[in-house]
């Protein structure tokens, strides 16, 4: 039976070559897209899952919903370990900011690397595989370093590394570190990426002051004995952690909150948590899954439509089979076998498509996905998608075609073209509505990004180059600045914390006159020097910015933004006394108010900000970036001059620079990626949909060949006929628009809510999407229509 099904399936494929090719092409591209997207989704979902006990590891978060941070005190982990019996283990990791890169050297090989510090038991909580060294003792000694295999190769080539000494330059001095262990390179789907790890004790051995419970900078992880499955258990544990901290540090506010984030969720659900840099977002996983479903559905509908349309030529076959005793189930099976055969042929095409576009897709999506035919998971994925595509697209035709009553069919009473027309049209409308929604989404995302690009940020982001500067290197700054300013193309030089707000401090410890007791407003604090406003061209709304003419600005003056004035509820902020508690408490007057400028991305409203010049003895800690404004159009010359001056003045300090406006773009990398992906996939969606329309139009023209003949005999011109044939489909696309617009509006309105500053969704967007869909449909249909209209009517009417 199956063999006969297969033979009939193949014969039909060959008999209706044009329709088969359209089906295979459409389904192939659809399956290909789906596989690409699912590869991506699968990768996103795999983060941190390969670790042993991954599901029992949680990250400790501090703060309430409004300002959740991933940083805690270094003392928290050891305290939890000791005081909370249900916690099997707790450890911490301090990933130093990128602007803090340290210079490492072995022999004559030296590079800048990102450094992390971890508790001694880090590797007993995290089961990263060891290549050399001992897991238990790797971080015991303050002078030890754990490196990845990549780092080992970079410095030691093919040799073993354990026992060798890697020296690190920190705060202007060189320290020898003994490599105690080598771990495997961190898998790309690990949220922990720390190529070099020192023990926490290293910092203390340098004699640096640790601010204990006040210093909230490290990530704390706890490893539970058994998985806590319910929310109540997690909440109970969170409040125990809070109690734990309050017992040790009475100065912490009562309002302090703790919560726990499962490690396996940190990649996709960690967005919006301060000091947790994650590239993932569950929202985009969902969006991508939706796109995959839409594309597969559009391709499946092509098959349904073409097959039911074509199936009307097979009514006789169905009738005869039923007459000789085939049950409906057998016929359903036969048609499903046909669709599966086609789906598997399409799968071959899909793999070609995937192989061809994977490099491109990787670039678009920022991943390194690979195809592994030996991986059973991957094979299962392909097979599942193919079978789903086959069954999905085969189900309706099977049901429809097997429903003909044999006596009717054999008497010729089932007129081709009547059955299923309504459903077919409905499905075309559905397909095009989906495509139009995708086109609208693409346009809206594009518009929003253009809006961001073209909006006034409240300062001038162009023509500024930033150079990282750390620790002792700050000592050479004044001379550097003076030398740089000798060039007339250098318009401003300033020193501050890094200008992306990610690394800034945030505090609720701000006092002002008339502050209400429960007032819990939090303020960003930016440490910067007197040249910040002039270099970045930040506009003032009241008062003045810091100035060298007022020495007191160095110690007891603040500049705040308008949002901060509002948060403090001040009528006349100038000369008001405020106190800011950060590392130490500082008191001073507000000497100026800046206009609200967008120091953070458009996702959030401009938040209260206080700018202060750091204490002279803390400047090496706060100042991490030199920002230099150069004259527009002098990029290469200015950059060359800056580099030359830097190398002469700063000597060993590496010259690592970036353009400020480029760094701002990174804030929108997820949206940027979505725009590109949307662009490609909405193109493919409309392509597949019009492929189906092409087939349907040719079918429709064939159906109406007699009518066309008659009309031509009655005097219809080619234009008349083309219009008649196209009108039918144009009406469908118009209807699709009516359905698509409200859906797209709803979806994109919700998406835009991610932005505090956003563009609206305007009418032209809808009209443009509609016009695109309509012209694609017209182009597709008119080819068939014109061909039909040009045919000789005698051919159609000859047979009497």
């Amino acid at each position: 039976m199956l063999k006969s099904h297969l033979i009939i399936a193949l014969r039909n494929l060959i008999r209706f070559k044009a329709f088969s090719s359209i089906n295979i092409l459409g389904l192939g591209v659809g399956i290909g897209c789906t596989i690409l997207i699912l590869l991506w989704v699968q990768d996103e979902l795999s983060y941190d899952r390969s670790l042993k006990n991954a599901e029992n590891i949680y990250m400790v978060l501090r703060g309430d919903k409004e300002a959740l941070t991933a940083v805690t005190s270094r003392l928290l982990a050891p305290t939890i370990r000791e005081e909370l019996p249900e916690v099997a283990d707790a450890t911490n990791l301090f990933k130093l900011p990128e602007s803090f890169n340290f210079y490492f050297r072995y022999g004559n090989k030296g590079f800048e690397e990102r450094l992390s510090l971890a508790d001694t038991n880090f590797f007993s909580v995290f089961s990263f595989a060891f290549r050399e060294g001992d897991r238990a003792t790797a971080l015991m000694d303050p002078g030890s370093a754990v490196i990845t295999d990549g780092i080992r190769k970079k410095y030691f080539g093919d040799d073993n590394a354990v026992g060798k000494t890697l020296s690190v330059t920190a705060f202007g001095k060189e320290y020898p570190m003994r490599v105690s262990a080598v771990v495997d390179d961190f898998p790309h789907n690990s949220t922990i990426q720390s190529p070099i790890i020192f023990p926490n004790s290293w910092l203390q051995s340098l004699g640096l002051k640790d601010y204990g419970w006040k210093n909230q900078s490290v990530q704390t992880f706890i490893h539970l004995k058994d998985r806590v499955r319910d929310d109540a258990g997690i909440r109970a544990l969170s409040s125990q952690i809070k109690a734990c901290e309050l017992r040790h540090d009475v100065f912490q506010p009562e309002t302090l909150e703790y919560s726990l984030l499962p490690l396996t969720r940190s990649h996709l659900y960690g967005g919006g948590i301060k000091f947790l840099t994650t590239t993932g977002d569950i929202k985009y996983v969902r969006i991508f899954l939706a796109i995959a479903a839409i594309i597969l559905l559009i391709a499946g509908i092509n098959y349904m439509n073409l097959t039911t349309a074509l199936g009307l030529r097979r009514t006789k076959e169905v009738g005869i089979k039923k007459a000789v005793g085939a049950s409906r189930e057998m016929l359903v099976a036969q048609f499903l076998v046909e669709s599966l055969v086609l789906a598997f042929i399409a799968m071959a095409l899909a793999m070609l498509f995937v192989e061809l576009f994977l490099p491109e897709f990787n670039q678009l999506s920022g991943k390194q996905l690979v195809i592994e035919y030996s991986n059973p998971l991957f094979v299962a994925l392909i097979l599942t998608v193919t079978v789903i595509a086959g069954l999905l697209s085969g189900s309706y035709p099977a049901f429809f075609l097997s429903s003909f009553a044999p006596d009717q069919v054999l008497k010729g009473k089932v007129k081709p073209g009547i059955g299923g027309v309504f459903t077919r049209k409905g499905l075309v409308v559905f397909q095009f509505a989906l495509s139009i929604v995708m086109i609208i989404c693409t346009i809206v995302v594009f518009n929003q990004l253009a809006f961001i690009r073209n909006s006034n940020l409240g300062f001038d982001k162009e023509n500024v180059v930033c150079i990282s500067l750390t620790g002792e290197a700050n000592n050479g700054y004044e001379t550097l600045k003076t030398r740089l300013e000798t060039d007339p193309d250098i318009l401003g030089v300033t020193r501050s914390e890094s200008m992306d707000s990610k690394g800034w401090n945030r505090t609720r410890g701000v006092g002002w006159q008339g502050k209400q007791n429960g007032d819990n407003a939090s303020f960003w604090v930016l440490g910067a020097d007197v040249d910040l406003a002039s270099t970045y061209r930040i506009a003032m709304s009241q008062g003045r910015f810091f100035s060298r003419q007022f020495p007191s600005d160095q110690t007891n003056a603040f500049v705040v933004n308008e949002a901060a004035v509002k948060a403090m509820g001040m009528k006349s902020p100038l000369n008001q006394d405020i106190s800011v508690f950060l590392i130490d408490r500082r008191e001073g007057k507000i000497i100026g108010v800046t206009k609200d400028f967008h120091f953070a991305s458009f996702h959030t409203a401009v938040e209260p900000l206080i700018i202060a010049i750091p204490d002279i003895n803390q400047q090496n800690f706060f100042y991490r970036t030199v920002s230099i404004r150069f004259r527009p159009g002098t990029v290469s010359n200015s950059l060359a001059f800056i580099e030359k001056t830097w190398k002469e003045q700063m000597r060993d300090v590496p010259f690592s620079y970036y353009f400020y406006d480029e760094s701002l773009k990174a804030q929108y990398s997820a949206e940027q990626r979505m725009e590109t992906i949307f662009k490609y996939f909405s193109f493919l969606a409309i392509l597949i949909a019009s492929l189906g329309l092409f087939g349907l139009a040719s079918f429709s023209a064939a159906q109406r060949i007699k009518e066309i003949g008659i009309r031509k005999v009655l005097g219809a011109t080619v234009t008349d006929i083309t219009l008649i044939l196209s009108r039918e489909f144009v009406m469908l696309v118009v209807l699709s628009n009516v359905i698509a617009w409200p859906v797209a509006y709803y979806v994109m309105d919700r998406w835009l809510e991610n932005f505090a500053y956003r563009t609206g969704i305007s009418w032209p967007t809808f009209l443009l999407a509609g016009a695109i869909a309509l012209s694609v449909a017209l182009l597709t249909v008119s080819y068939q229509a014109i061909r039909a209209a040009l045919a000789n009517p005698v051919e159609a009417l000859r047979y009497e």
């Binding site: 008659i710 009309r711 031509k712 005999v713 009655l714 005097g715 011109t717 009417l797 000859r798 009497e800």
Partner: protein, 235 residues
Amino acid sequence: MTDSRSSASEPLIRLRGIARWYSSGFMKSYVLREINLGIREGEFVSIMGPSGSGKSTLLHILGMLDEPSAGEYEFLGEQVHKLSAKEKTELHKHYIGFVFQSYHLIDDLTVYENLETPLLYKNVKSSERKSLVSDVLDRFQIVAKKDLFPNQLSGGQQQLVGIARAVITSPRLILADEPTGNLNSAQGVEIMELFTKLNREGTTIVQVTHSEKNASYGRRTINLLDGRVEEPTHD
């Protein structure tokens, strides 16, 4: 060959050396050869001949639906073989009405709409269309059927609509391809009498038929055999 019956009116149609063949490989298979024919305005001509003798092809050529492979075709003094497709469409939509054996009504349109279709293509104004369709519905006594679809009519009724559609544009020439072929004899008689009446009112009619009886309604018969015109017969 010239018409032996002399008439005062100018010839409506003149064919000189018309041939139609299909090439298959190096072979030419002839459907029509060396047809010379004149038809004057007001004639009622029957074309007869066995199956495959080229009757329908000749009719299609006359109706400008098909092109001769060789020869000259003059219609109302116009050299048809030299006209473009567009000009031919113009010519035939203004002067020629077609009636088919299987009626060829458009299934999705009502009787009324079927009758209206040729007027649409002649760009007749809406009000005028209405009155023309009403006229013809009256004349053919099918007013009651105007909202029915073709498949709700009997064969005779469908052919009535087919002829009504052919005459609605007041053509000078009606070409009928076995108009009664699918009808019973009573319906056939009715249709042939209708043709006679139209002919009396001045419309030139050329019909293709198998039946001697139908041919006898015409005033001249052209016999085709293997693509050639046989000895003309006169009544």
